[in-house]
């Protein structure tokens, strides 16, 4: 685990703590390079690119949008509920969301 944690701390975006997952979704869904993916996500969130890795801004932004936060709060969206919102926000297909919605008939 040493190398994973070291890379995450040294140069990672922070995942759910910030906007790392959102930028990653754009890389894998639309083949966006890092700069384009960051700009796209920042525009969708209505924040500066620099704040994508700012925990103080992203905690509030994620909670407001219902796209999952790093701490566990009873009743707050996480997992598939959060991913449904993420797919809508970023306007991308997420296969698990597509399957889940089809199972619900929506």
């Amino acid at each position: 685990m040493g190398m994973h944690m070291a890379h995450i701390m040294s140069s990672g975006m922070g995942g759910l703590r910030t906007a790392g997952d959102l930028v990653a979704w754009m890389q894998i869904s639309r083949r966006m390079k890092i700069g384009d993916a960051k700009e796209y996500v920042a525009r969708k969130l209505g924040i500066d690119v620099l704040d994508l890795t700012n925990e103080e801004v992203m905690r509030r932004t994620r909670e407001d949008l219902g796209i999952g936060i790093i701490t566990s709060v009873a009743g707050s969206p996480k997992g598939i509920r959060a991913k449904i919102k993420i797919a809508e926000l970023l306007e991308i297909p997420i296969n698990s969301v597509t399957l889940f919605k089809s199972q619900l008939g929506i």
């Binding site: 701390m9 140069s11 790392g20 930028v23 990653a24 890389q27 083949r31 890092i34 997420i94 399957l99």
Partner: protein, 355 residues
Amino acid sequence: MSDKILTRMGDGERLWMSASEVREDIAAGTEDAARRAKIPQLSEEEQEKLFEIMAEPSRAVSVSPGEEVIVTDDGGTMSFYTCQDGGGVGVPLSRMQAILTYERACGADTTSMGHSDYSYKPVKPIINFEMNDYYNTSMLTTVPFFYGAQPNLGLYYQPDGPCPNPGDLMPAGKIKEAQEAQELAAEYLEKDLVFVGKKMASVGCEGLNLDTSGSAGDADFLAALKGVRRLKKELGHMPIIMGSANEFILGMHGAAKFDDQRLAGMYPHRQVKVVEAAGADIFGVAVGTNTGESVAWNLARTLTFVKETVRVADIPVHVNVGMGVGGVPMLEGPPVDCVTRVSKALAQIGKIDGL
């Protein structure tokens, strides 16, 4: 700044080097990569930037705010619960617990799961188990969740697989027979990649990782490319990471071609173009670490390959930076001082999209 810099060799051994020795190793490392791949060396400015990163006295170093990149992994969550063979720390966690811990406690940008053998062939007999675990976990994960494994063509050769072993045929001078054995094995591998990919897609798989493609040579890489092309064509939306096994593709077959391009001997800046053509969404560059050279030498060499690859790529480039690749020392527990220097240098100088 002290003239003496505490650094390491590619096998992890700690040593003090003078500033001039580090600079000489950086120059030699970039020259080696440039000469082999016929690509530009790092500029003097970039070499000096790398020197500054190597010479930083701090134990751990990092990028500046705004320079962060995406961190993907190749079975990283398995390291929580597996044993030494997989770099694992043996904590008694389920796969789901490890995946969620990695996502929520470690702040990973993406997460993944894979079979403990981490090859596609052995997944086939247990595909329903894998689909079940993937589906259940995907209901709880929020970050992109990959299913990963290695193509690993070697598993299709006797005595482990059905095809004659090229390792036996080639020393006997049976070159044509060895090529035919690799071609047959590659057909089996391609089928297995498509089989597993389609099964995982049926349970809402968010992405596939074909890790260490080409580990058994050009026929291995070819099967992975063909598998990616078929999966992208037949599944529609299926994000795929395709990572390579080495800085150049071994010519075990020698004549394997994809879209009329000979794969043997391809360096990363050419590998990425065939990976793009196959339809993959992210390319993983792999550059082996030379244990007999310093980290400065290895990192300069890696950066030279990576910089050119990023320059020509139309898809995101994530660099393999585990133990023994990308300038990280070949050590069971990669030292934090080196891992973070590799991380920072690749982001700042290599201009990568991820790790």
